[in-house]
Symmetry: C2
Subunit: 699 residues, 2 copies
């Protein structure tokens, strides 16, 4: 259901409006009126009276018709009856600012659940409870239903904040940051409306051109992923998900009363959904500024134009650290630059016009470099020098931007605060940063959005598998009251889902053994099985590297002979003939289940390195082919797979396929709680990934 009743109401009632200064009920009325809501505002207070110059209604029932939104600030215990009254009045939108719900403990959670049931039953939508309110800066709406310090700035951002105070703090500094909101929703306890609901609503709101999220928890990860992955292809979505660390998550949990999900799962989700994750507010705003003022670039080739070498070097360092490219300035561009720049200037990238560069050099250099087809983005660095004014350079850049809107222009102006304050009173069209590294961060985000938009839609392949066999296996295991599958059972499940497992067969005679080895392929390992003999080594119970049919025959006979000679033949059952996987590279892959986010696929470097090097990565299931590609490539050990130091290049597509098949397994059988293939050995013979050992646990 649309959020129009809340975000674009015809009329707004404030239930709990107050005349007492510095109360929410008073501040809210002030903001609504000051900001100039385009419809009527009705204060409701049982005592009546005049609030902010308006006659208060004594009850919701007394309100005129046409109210779409009620902003509720009464004591929590009166909220349910207020909602009843709103329903009776035909009000469809609620913003419940009142606290005293889930955040207070189990009792409050139950109270909130009852409230939500009521809201759902009435077919209403609700923001909150325990929130700061909502804002819509659209000129036809001008709704500041929020009790923050400042009036909101108009801009292109849709912002969701799970923290009320933080949301207010942000509203407060927007102007200084040259940023503005289209809409803002403080979701509070997110009983009904959460980040995902906002995303869905903003998908089709034209004036919301980018979405910022501050989240401490993701309520419905699956739905969030689905919607976000679609919307991020249309507009950038940036998220600050706090509670990354165990300590932070514990702080988040005490603070919002919602369980903080494991961060690696959240991180995987955001990656797979194309959401740009920021680790701090500074970065969040820096990135937003870039998206507000730049087109998505066509590539990652960056040209730097500067009047000071130092910041140019620092910017180059930062570009390289991100793995982006410094543009190769073409010879004709260089020639043109040389035609007007002084001899001491450098016309290679970074283009250093030297400190004394006048305004005309800035203009002509930027236009010339911008026109070079080998340049995708231009970063312009300005340091004050002998009378050239920062604002004049800034205006020149904005003029150039107006003429050439197709490539991002980013300003790095190492100048006084005053400049940024002056900008905040201007309509800026170019993002300006103080420091080189901030400007490069911004370009990286633009480039990341480009890469995401260019990324093919992923496909979840449907492999032909033996589902029934696995069904039967799991049923049997469950019927035996077990949750752990044996190694053999686990390998059978993997086999049924088409994972290439290490082949092995049981054989009772020399001929059977040799035939089994023929079928498996050489070399093989022969392992004796016996009910009585524990001293396997005395008789050569494990024989490795058997390379031929005859060798198997011979060794089987030798084994039997030794057993008989030592009087150990009793209890001898036969041998397991096992494929001998020769590999130097062990990987691990598997499934881990997060209580909130569900099953995740894991891939990484195996062996003794797993814990020490932590070179593993995660993605949420179900995995599509793009996710699998990225998962495999996101570990450092990927280079090893490609065939470092004389090793056989791994069949990487088969590694991806293994992960995709496991994903299908856990999608088909959600009872799979844990699955480890350790090692998934990369065969030196042909680079095939082979599951040598496996372990599965089901619910």
């Amino acid at each position: 259901m649309s959020l129009n009743a809340i975000m674009k109401p015809r009329a707004v009632a404030v239930v709990g409006a107050s005349t007492r200064p510095h109360t929410i009920g008073s501040d809210l009325m002030k903001r609504l009126l000051e900001y100039g809501f385009t419809g009527p505002v009705y204060p409701v207070n049982p005592k009546g009276g005049v609030i902010e110059g308006l006659e208060a209604y004594r009850s919701v029932a007394d309100l005129p018709e046409g109210v779409d939104l009620a902003i509720i600030v009464v004591n929590s215990k009166f909220v349910p009856e207020t909602v009843d009254a709103c329903h009776a009045k035909g009000i469809k939108g609620l913003v419940v600012i009142s606290a005293g719900f889930k955040e207070t403990g189990p009792e409050g959670a139950a109270f909130e659940a009852d409230l939500l049931a009521k809201v759902r039953q009435y077919g209403m939508r609700m923001v909150g409870p325990n929130c700061l309110g909502v804002v819509n800066t659209h000129p036809e709406v001008r709704l500041d239903g929020c009790f923050a310090e400042s009036l909101p700035e108009r801009g292109d951002i849709g912002f969701v904040s799970q923290s009320g105070a933080l949301g207010g703090g942000i509203l407060n500094i927007l102007k200084d940051l040259n940023l503005g909101f289209a809409q803002f929703i403080s979701i509070g306890n997110q009983a009904d409306i959460d980040a995902q609901a906002a995303l869905e609503y903003w998908e089709h709101e034209e004036d919301v051109r980018q979405i910022l999220l501050y989240m401490e928890s993701i309520r419905d990860p699956k739905a969030f992923r689905e919607h976000a992955a679609r919307i991020t292809k249309k507009k950038p979505v940036l998220a600050l998900k706090a509670g990354r660390s165990a300590a932070g998550a514990s702080a988040a949990s005490s603070h919002t009363g919602s369980l903080a999900g494991a961060d690696r799962a959240a991180d995987a989700l955001l990656k797979q959904a194309g959401v740009i994750r920021e680790l701090g507010l500074k970065d969040l705003f820096n990135s937003a500024k870039a998206f507000s003022n730049c087109p998505i670039p066509k590539g990652d080739r960056i040209a730097i134009v500067t009047n000071s070498g130092g910041p140019g070097i620092m910017a180059t360092d930062a570009v390289s650290a991100y793995g982006m490219r410094m543009a190769e300035i073409s010879e004709s561009t260089k020639a043109e630059l040389r035609s007007f720049l002084p001899a001491a200037a450098s016309v290679k990238n970074p283009v250093d016009m030297i400190a004394s560069a006048p305004l005309e050099h800035y203009q002509r250099t930027v236009e010339t470099v911008l026109a070079d087809p080998g340049v995708d983005m231009v970063m312009v660095i300005y340091l004050p020098f002998l009378g050239l004014k920062d604002t004049d350079v800034a205006k020149a850049l904005m003029d150039i931007k107006a003429k050439h809107p197709e490539k991002p222009i980013i300003g790095c102006f190492m100048t006084e605060n005053r400049f940024f304050t002056e900008l905040s009173d201007m309509k800026v069209t170019v993002p300006f940063y103080m420091y080189a590294e901030e400007a490069v961060d911004a370009m990286e985000r633009l480039n990341r959005q480009r890469l995401w938009m260019e990324r093919p839609e992923g496909v979840v392949p449907a492999f032909e598998v033996k589902k029934d066999a696995v069904r039967a296996m799991f049923d049997r295991v469950k019927s035996e009251g077990r949750t752990e599958l044996s190694t053999r059972e686990s390998m059978e499940v993997l086999d049924a889902y088409g994972v290439r497992t290490c082949r092995s067969t049981f054989a009772k005679t020399a001929e059977e053994a040799a035939a089994a080895a023929d079928a498996i392929g050489y070399p093989v390992v022969m392992k004796m099985t016996s009910t009585t003999v524990s001293h396997k080594t005395d008789v050569g119970g494990v024989r490795v590297g058997l390379a031929s049919h005859d060798a198997v025959l011979e060794n089987f006979r030798d084994l039997v002979a030794k057993l008989e000679a030592k009087g150990l033949a009793e209890g001898f059952e036969g041998v397991i003939i096992q494929e001998m996987v020769v590999g130097k590279r062990e990987t691990v892959c598997g499934i881990a289940t997060d209580p909130q986010y569900g099953p995740m696929m894991m891939f990484g470097l195996g062996g003794i390195f797993v814990e020490a090097l932590e070179d593993v990565a995660f993605r949420l299931a179900p995995l599509n082919d793009q996710d699998a590609k990225e998962l495999v490539r996101s570990v450092k050990a990927f280079k090893l797979l490609q065939g470092a130091r004389g090793t056989t290049p791994a069949q990487i597509d088969r590694v991806e396929e293994t992960l995709l098949r496991l994903s299908q397994l856990v999608t088909d059988f959600p009872e799979v709680q844990e699955l480890d293939i350790n090692p998934l050995m990369i065969s030196e013979k042909n680079g095939e990934p082979i599951a040598v050992d496996g372990r599965i646990r089901i619910a």
Copy 2:
């Protein structure tokens, strides 16, 4: 020689002073006078006239006595004769602002070398050429010998900038950053005075309490390291070394005309010298602000006091990411907090006073938490809420700081730019940041300085080694016109320096072989050597895992028998009996030589993982025991050494010793250009590190 003549001159002459506006010769005069230099300022211009109200002298020779410093802004070709004239006048200090030297190419470099020779011959000291000038804000000096836009702010920072324009840019924004300089030197081409000279001078300047360096190259790494390592124990030294990336280094090189050293060497040097390296200017200033306003903490236990949950969580995340600790608030502190905070507040760390916290809650909470003996630093977060003014909270914190100066208090105020502008007009005593992550960065730097100051002085051990043997070996190799040592020669060198190498002996008979094996210890590997037999495998030419005296005898005889049977006995020389090192963990260690920084010690994870995982680290030679400890612990694989996954814990002290012995080797023999021990195997038997293969290249 002291820099007093330059930094604390009795009188200053400006040679090349000018009346033409917006020239350096004019701006410089303006700044000197405006800032109120406490001694006389003498303009020198061959045309005479009145400059900034002062009668110009037509030549240096005409100047009155008592001039200590000449600031020279004449065309470069007149610089040498000006220096002659200054010398004749008894002037000891020079600041050569004029460009046209090394930065222009080889001819300019020769011109600069001549100038330097002259300066040295005259016993003068020189800043520049090609620089922005110098500043000393001490009230008894007030020297602004710099042509930056703004007048400098007084503070406790000594700043060296290799980039002139950048230095000027920084002077320009200091006030906004709440930072001030004690002294500033733009070293330009650093012909005479470089960062190290400034460090040495500032070591004993009381009012310089921290030192900031912007460097693109380190001219004399060895001397820099020696002095910096001493000075960093007294005052924090922060460095921004640009040219980290290959692209950045190339940009730096074209820009300053000096060769950019390999960054990993620079990084090692800064670490070993206790210099805090910053990657961007933003971080540099953030850290400087902390050191200007905070004592060095006693520990890393951080308490957070906030009126908004969100930033508290983000700060907690950032603290955890750095591996610092969130303080455990004591029960008695909690009880006291509960006595005045509302029920909805959280008294565990982060202490969340909730949004409505009034000023008194800030005051009392911060004082209470600060008094907790389990707290080393307090971070205070403020978000605007219903009328509580940011400046009032800031002042309250400064009052508390005045009363309790012993623990760092850091402010994170997410409020308007206006607040920071207001601060810039105040005498602040607490560092204030806008974002949680910046505040945590600052605390991490304070903590890092603490760790460095607590770090024991390193000792370079002197092992007893067979230096003569190595001398003889290198002489022989050189006399043969070689630079590469054979494996055997390399192993002999390692052995001579006490590195535990894989033992091996040549033996001609079965008895010799068995005796050799007895001496080496079992198991051993036996490798045939023959001048004729290439098909080693046919006769079992390599036999591994021989576990006893008898096994060696038997196998030697068997080998000879097989050779005879196959008619291959001719050419048989004997066998190499080699210790069989059984290990699961391969490390690498060695020596790499950087053309500028000299020999570096390398340590890391070996085997096929070297390139892919890049888990290697570097330190400059000579290595002291502390450096060795840190080097070994700075790679991720260190966890593996400790004995992960059932492996034998490595003898880590022996690994360190190996590195220290190699460091002694390269210190004794600077001709060692490259040395690789790959692998340095960790024995599963007893955790001993054993050099299994080695390679040495000499100059």
